[in-house]
Amino acid sequence: MTHTAASKPILKLMNVGKSFHKQVVLKNIHLTVQRGEVTVILGPSGCGKSTLLRCLNGLELIDEGSIRFNELELTPKGRQWQAVRERIGMVFQSYHLFPHMKVIDNILLGPLKVQKRSKAEALAQAEELLERIGLLDKRDSYPRELSGGQQQRIAIVRALCMNPEVMLFDEVTAALDPEMVKEVLEVMLQLAREGMTMIIVTHEMGFARAVADRIVFMDKGSIIEQGNPKSFFSEPQTDRAKRFLQQFYEIETWKGRDVI
């Protein structure tokens, strides 16, 4: 994705820090995301990727630094997160659809109860989105009747139907059977092509490389390397990133396939 360098960033994190009890989980995070940009965050387990995403929509509160979303400063305590969350969608590893609601009600809850939109208009959009992911015939199903891949695509639609400006994806294919990973990634690729601003945490290296405008590599709560995917994957700057990528290449070759 190309974008004009002069445009104002949609998200700007400055010196963000976060601890759980005395354990430092994020420190010194500086990150700028432009509108329409796709940022992929990579890093070993426990390095703070999920926590970073959760700080962006206030599911966790930061202890240090500041986060600016458009013109809004998200840092002060008591910020009205509800208004921010309407504009920042999030998709989780285990989908978290609401099990007691039909697919269509899962999708419409936010638009109707939070955004107070008209039923007809929201419904039209929900059905159009369902149509696009090929699941319109599941609109009256309950989540338990769907496969993991279908549930996850519904979860994406649930977030999209709020018309967010940014979408956060936290390892959304990690809980899926291999044959369902692709259908979810395709939806995300399509979104990226349409110019959605996305921040993605994933362990799918091939996908990361294909979708990312920028790779952010984290280790032990800090960003230790950032760059465009081509240079990151071909010549990582830090030893830590080299070793991290090496593991993936090794596993790929175990499978007897070509390295990405």
Binding site: L59, F92, S94, F98, G110, K113, M162
Partner: protein
């Protein structure tokens, strides 16, 4: 002429029925108030605010460590004495049983809310729901199912505990029975009918609760 047991029972029926109704009314109001209050009480405990936790904890301990009977006496005899507040014995009974029932249903509700996967809260919040909406649309509908069997058990305990209110002068079924016995000396028949009354009320409830519980697992 001596009255036969059956005739005596028939003759005392109106008085007994009055007692039954009184017992049922106290139980009914207490159960309604306990349910509404208890769900709120349980929800407040799971919001995760420190001051709310301390407050609810304190309230809970008051009812855990002081017997219902003492509460009944306190409200019925103590309130007029210390605060010049006079409540009828019926109101006192409903008040105390409800305040106690709120802690019991509250524990049931707290457990049910806490048993819902954490991700449901995250997902609800991430689409911008307020705390009230989160409970209203996401957590409560899911918790309700899990609440029903243990709540029914609390209801049977509330029904049984209404018998304590005889001690603050409520003419519920036990009191009515005692009055008849005093008048006629016929204890076996009357106590027998009390026995049957409580059993018929509580046993089906406890069976229902067990059935529902089984069906859910």
């Amino acid at each position: 002429m001596e009255l036969s047991g059956l005739e005596l029972l028939l003759q005392s029926m109106p008085q007994l029925v009055k007692g039954f109704i009184q017992t049922l009314l106290i139980a009914f109001y207490s159960i309604i108030l306990s349910t509404i209050g208890g769900i709120l009480f349980g929800a407040l405990q799971t919001i995760g605010l420190l001051w709310l936790n301390l407050l609810t904890r304190f309230y809970l301990e008051l009812f855990r460590s002081i017997p219902i009977l003492v509460w009944l006496f306190f409200v019925y005899f103590g309130l007029p004495l210390f605060f010049n507040v006079h409540l009828s014995s019926f109101t006192c009974a409903v008040l105390v049983l409800s305040l106690w029932g709120i802690t019991e249903i509250g524990e049931v509700a707290r457990g049910a809310f806490q048993s819902i996967a954490r991700g449901q809260r995250d997902a609800g919040r991430s689409i911008g729901l307020s705390t009230i909406q989160l409970y209203q649309y996401i957590l409560f509908p899911q918790a309700l199912r899990r609440m029903i069997p243990p709540s029914i058990n609390v209801y049977t305990r509330i029904i049984k505990t209404t018998s304590l209110t005889v001690l603050i002068g409520v003419t519920e079924v036990v009191k009515a029975g005692q009055q008849i016995i005093e008048r006629t000396g016929e204890a076996v028949m009357i106590y027998g009918s009390l026995f049957v009354f409580y059993f018929l009320l509580c046993y089906p409830l406890s069976v229902l609760s067990r059935k529902l519980e089984k069906r859910m697992t």
